[in-house]
C-alpha cells in the first residue's frame, strides 16, 4: 500500500516538475529579480549598484512623465474596459437573437480580433486622419464636427477606445457562448412571472454569466494596464515621423503625451534610456496596482453574491 502511494506520489511529482520548473524560471525568478533590481541602479551594461529607495523616490517625487502615463492608463482602464465589455455583450446578445445567417454574423464580428494589432492600428489611423481620412470626409459631408482624432490630444484616447471596440471579437465570442448557455426555462419562468426584457436581463442573464463577466473584466483590466502596441503604433503613425533607426525616438505619446501609457514609459526608461533599476521599480508598482484592481473586482463580485443571498 505504502509502495503504491509512493509510486503515485513520484508519478505526480514527475508530471508536475516541468510546469513547476517553468513557473520558477519564467515567473518566480523574474518576479524576485525585478524586486531586487528595483532597489538598484542598473543600466544593463555594468553591474547593478544598490541605491535603496532611490528609484521609488524618483517615481513619486521627480518624474512628471510617469504620472501622465499613469493617468492615461487609468483613463483607458476606466473607460475602455467597460466600453469593450458592454459593446461585446451587446453584440453577443444581438447575435443570439438572430436566427438566419447567425454563423456569418458571428464570423464577421469575430474577424477583427484576428487582425494583427499593428496593421489594424495603422489602418485606423489612416481612416481617422483629420486631413485626408474618409471618416472626417463623411462627417464633413454630414456637416458634423470633424475631430482631430489621433492628432488631437483631446480625441486620441477616445480614438483608441474606438479601435478597441472594433476588435471586441475575442470577448464577444466568450459572451456568446455563455449567453447561449443560460437555461431557457429560467427565461420562461421569469416571463410567466411577468418580467420584462430588462428584468430578465438583470435577474436571469447577468447572474448566469457573472463568472464570465468577471473573467472578462479582470483580463481586460490586466491587458489594459499593459496597453502598449496600439498606443505606440498610433502615436508613431499619427506623428508622421519616420523611425528609420536614426537617433532618438520622440513619437511616444503623440500628441502631447496623450497616448503615453505606463508600459510604454516603462519600456522607454528601461530599454531606451537604460534605467533598468527604475523600470523594475515601475514594474513592481504596476504589479501592485494590478493586484489592487483584481482584489477590488473579486471583492465586489463577492458582495454581489452576498446581496443575492
Amino acid at each position: 500500500m505504502t509502495g503504491r502511494h509512493g509510486n503515485q506520489r513520484l508519478f505526480t511529482v514527475a508530471l508536475m516538475t516541468p510546469a513547476t520548473i517553468g513557473l520558477l524560471v519564467f515567473f518566480v525568478y523574474p518576479l524576485i529579480a525585478t524586486f531586487y533590481f528595483s532597489f538598484t541602479r542598473f543600466d544593463l551594461l555594468s553591474s547593478p549598484q544598490w541605491v535603496g529607495l532611490r528609484n521609488y523616490r524618483y517615481f513619486f517625487t521627480e518624474d512628471p512623465v510617469v504620472w501622465q502615463a499613469l493617468r492615461n492608463t487609468l483613463w483607458l482602464v476606466v473607460v475602455m474596459v467597460p466600453c469593450r465589455i458592454l459593446f461585446a455583450l451587446g453584440t453577443a446578445g444581438i447575435v443570439t437573437q438572430i436566427k438566419r445567417r447567425a454563423g456569418l454574423l458571428r464570423t464577421l464580428f469575430y474577424l477583427p480580433a484576428l487582425a494583427p494589432p499593428v496593421a489594424a492600428t495603422v489602418a485606423f489611423v489612416f481612416l481617422f486622419n483629420p486631413a485626408v481620412g474618409p471618416v472626417n470626409q463623411v462627417l464633413g459631408v454630414l456637416h458634423l464636427s470633424q475631430p482631430g482624432w489621433f492628432a488631437d490630444s483631446t480625441w486620441s484616447k477616445p480614438a483608441l477606445v474606438l479601435l478597441g471596440l472594433w476588435g471586441i471579437g475575442d470577448i464577444m465570442i466568450i459572451f456568446l457562448a455563455s449567453l447561449l448557455d443560460v437555461p431557457q426555462d429560467q427565461y420562461e419562468a421569469a416571463s410567466l412571472d411577468g418580467a420584462n426584457g430588462l428584468q430578465r436581463f438583470r435577474y436571469v442573464t447577468i447572474p448566469s454569466i457573472k463568472p464570465v463577466l468577471l473573467f472578462a473584466t479582470i483580463t481586460g483590466v490586466i491587458e489594459t494596464l499593459q496597453y502598449f502596441t496600439q498606443a505606440t503604433v498610433a502615436a508613431q503613425v499619427a506623428s508622421g515621423q519616420a523611425n528609420n533607426g536614426a537617433g532618438t525616438a520622440t513619437t511616444l505619446g503623440f500628441p502631447n503625451g496623450s497616448t503615453l501609457t505606463f508600459s510604454q514609459w516603462l519600456y522607454q526608461e528601461g530599454f531606451t534610456n537604460f534605467y533598468l533599476g527604475y523600470a523594475s521599480a515601475m514594474s513592481v508598482l504596476m504589479f501592485l496596482i494590478a493586484i489592487g484592481f483584481i482584489v477590488f473586482l473579486l471583492r465586489r463580485s463577492g458582495s454581489f453574491r452576498g446581496a443575492e443571498a
Binding site: L24, V28, Y29, I32, A33, Y36, F37, R41, F42, D43, L44, L45, S46, S47, P48, Q49, W50, V51, R54, N55, Y58, E62, D63, P64, V65, N129, P130, A131, V132, G148, F150, A151, D152, S153, A238, S239, G240, Q241, A242, N244, G245, A246, G247, T248, A249, T250, T251, G253, F254, P255, N256, G257, F271, T272, N273, F274, Y275, Y278
Partner: protein, 465 residues
C-alpha cells in the same frame, strides 16, 4: 508547523538563489577598464582578450562579426565595401548582420554575446557606451597604429568620444541644411534662399497658399517640432544654442539663445493658426517615401539632411529644387554656413572575440579613403575622413556639395554626449510640442527651468548611487 517551516525555508532558499542569479545577471566589468576592456579577473575577462598588442601584428586572421542597422540599398553598399575588405585581408572573414538596432546590440553586449564590431545609427549612445565600457577604448589602437585623428572634423571627433575616452570611430555623417523649391521661390519673386530667420518667416508667409475653406494648401515652411526633421537639435547651431553645461547638467533654461528659437516657432505657428497647422501636419505624407510633402510640392522649404538628395533623385527627378545652409538667428549671421551634424558610429564590443581583426575592419571602414568614398557614394552620406571628403572620386553635385561645405564649416555643431543618451533632447522636444500647442503655460522661462529640472533629475537617476 513543520510544513510551514518547510515552506518558509523553501521561499528563503529560492530568494537566495534568485538574488544570486540576479547579481550574476551581467558581466561585471569596470567602466573604461583601460586598453583591452575589463580588468583581469572580472567575469568578462576570459571572453575578451587583453590590451591591444604593442605593435600592429603582421598578420591578422579570424572571423569578425559586424552588426549594422542598414537595410535595403544602404545594406548593399556596406556589403560591397566589406567584400573589398575581405579581398584586401583574405585571412579575415566578416559575418555581416544587417537591421540590428541599439537595443539589441546593448542586450547582446550585456549578455556577453555581442558583435565584434557594432555600427550604430545614434551618436546618443556615445556617453553610455564609452562610460560603461560597452565599447572598448580605441585610444590605444589609434595611438599604436598612428591613425591621424586630425583628418576627422572637430564636431565629429566630439560625438565619438566621452570624457576623453574614444570608444568609437565616425562612420559617415548626416548634415542638415535648407531645401527649397526653386519654382515656388521664383514665382514669388525670390532669387535666393533666406539667410536669416526673419527672412525665412517673411518668405514662408508669402509662399504659403490657403484653400478656399481656409485650410493650408501649400506651406511656406512648417515650424512644427516633430514634423519630419524638425527637431531642436537641428536648429541649435544656427541659433547658437547649447544643451549642456560643462558639468553635464542642462543649460536649456540658462542659455538665452533658446528663447529666440521658441519665439520664432510661436510667431510662425500663429501665422498659420495652430489648428490649421495641426491638420496640415496630420495629412503629411510619410517622410521616407515619394509622398514626402517637399517632394510632392506641398511645402516650399524645409530642413533636412543631405540624404534627401538621393530620395529626390530617384522619387521626384522632375522637382526643381536647391539646397543652402539653414538661416541663422538675426543676430547670429556670422554662423551662416554652419549647421547640425550627426552620424553613424562604429566600435568594438566589450566581449569581442577577435578585437585585433575587429580593429582592422574599423580602421579600414573609417580611415581608408577609397572605402569611405565608396560608402559615401553608395549610401549618399557625408564622408567623415577629410581625404575622402576632398577626393575627386566623391560624387557630389551642387546640391550635395552644400552639405559638404556645411560639414566643413568650423561653426557646425553636434549634440553633446551624455551618460543618459539622448533623453535630454526627448524631454525638451516633448516640452516644445506642448509649448507650441499652448499646453505648457505662458511663462517661457519657467517652462524652460522645468525642463532643466526634469533633465537633471533623470541625469542623477542614471549616475548617482
Amino acid at each position: 508547523m513543520t510544513a510551514r517551516l518547510r515552506r518558509t525555508a523553501g521561499v528563503a532558499s529560492l530568494s537566495a538563489v534568485a538574488l544570486t542569479l540576479a547579481a550574476c545577471g551581467t558581466s561585471g566589468s569596470s567602466p573604461n577598464a583601460g586598453p583591452g576592456g575589463p580588468t583581469a579577473g572580472s567575469p568578462a575577462a576570459s571572453t575578451t582578450s587583453a590590451s591591444p598588442l604593442p605593435s600592429a601584428p603582421a598578420k591578422v586572421s579570424g572571423t569578425v562579426q559586424l552588426w549594422h542597422f542598414f537595410t535595403g540599398r544602404e545594406a548593399k553598399a556596406i556589403d560591397a565595401v566589406v567584400a573589398d575588405f575581405e579581398k584586401a585581408y583574405p585571412d579575415i572573414k566578416v559575418v555581416v548582420k544587417s537591421g540590428q538596432d541599439d537595443t539589441k546590440a546593448t542586450q547582446a553586449i550585456s549578455a556577453g554575446k555581442g558583435p565584434d564590431v557594432d555600427l550604430s545609427y545614434s551618436t546618443d549612445i556615445t556617453g553610455k557606451f564609452c562610460s560603461t565600457g560597452a565599447f572598448r577604448d580605441l585610444g590605444p589602437y589609434i595611438a599604436r597604429d598612428k591613425v591621424d585623428l586630425s583628418q576627422i572634423p572637430k564636431p565629429v571627433q566630439s560625438y565619438t568620444e566621452y570624457k576623453g575616452v574614444r570608444c568609437e570611430m565616425p562612420f559617415l555623417a548626416d548634415t542638415y541644411g535648407l531645401y527649397y523649391n526653386k519654382t515656388m521661390l521664383t514665382a514669388a519673386g525670390y532669387t535666393s534662399p533666406p539667410k536669416t530667420m526673419s527672412e525665412l518667416t517673411t518668405m514662408a508667409e508669402k509662399l504659403t497658399k490657403f484653400n478656399a475653406d481656409g485650410s493650408i494648401k501649400v506651406a511656406g515652411f512648417v515650424p512644427t517640432v516633430g514634423y519630419y526633421e524638425d527637431a531642436p537639435a537641428h536648429y541649435a547651431p544656427t541659433f547658437g544654442a547649447t544643451w549642456l553645461k560643462p558639468d553635464g547638467t542642462s543649460n536649456i533654461g540658462t542659455d538665452k539663445n533658446w528663447q529666440p528659437y521658441l519665439n520664432w516657432i510661436t510667431q510662425l505657428t500663429k501665422f498659420y493658426g495652430q489648428a490649421k497647422l495641426a491638420k496640415f501636419v496630420a495629412g503629411a505624407g510619410q517622410e521616407f517615401s515619394a509622398d514626402n510633402d517637399f517632394e510632392k510640392g506641398k511645402v516650399a522649404m524645409m530642413i533636412d539632411g543631405e540624404y534627401r538628395n538621393a530620395f529626390l533623385k530617384t522619387e521626384h527627378p522632375e522637382l526643381s529644387y536647391a539646397t543652402a545652409p539653414f538661416p541663422t538667428a538675426d543676430d547670429k549671421t556670422s554662423l551662416y554656413g554652419a549647421g547640425y551634424v550627426t552620424g553613424n558610429i562604429i566600435g568594438i564590443g566589450k566581449g569581442a572575440k577577435n578585437p585585433e581583426a575587429a580593429w582592422v575592419l574599423i580602421k579600414y571602414l573609417t580611415s581608408n579613403t577609397a572605402a569611405m568614398v565608396k560608402l559615401a557614394n553608395g549610401i549618399k552620406n557625408v564622408p567623415t575622413w577629410n581625404p575622402a571628403l576632398n577626393s575627386p572620386d566623391l560624387v557630389a553635385d551642387a546640391n550635395f556639395k552644400t552639405f559638404l561645405d556645411i560639414f566643413a564649416n568650423p561653426s557646425t555643431a553636434t549634440t553633446p554626449a551624455s551618460p543618459n543618451g539622448g533623453a535630454y533632447q526627448v524631454t525638451f522636444q516633448n516640452w516644445i510640442e506642448k509649448w507650441q500647442t499652448g499646453k505648457a503655460g505662458n511663462n517661457l522661462q519657467s517652462g524652460l527651468s522645468s525642463v532643466d529640472k526634469q533633465i537633471n533629475d533623470a541625469l542623477k537617476l542614471g549616475t548617482a548611487p
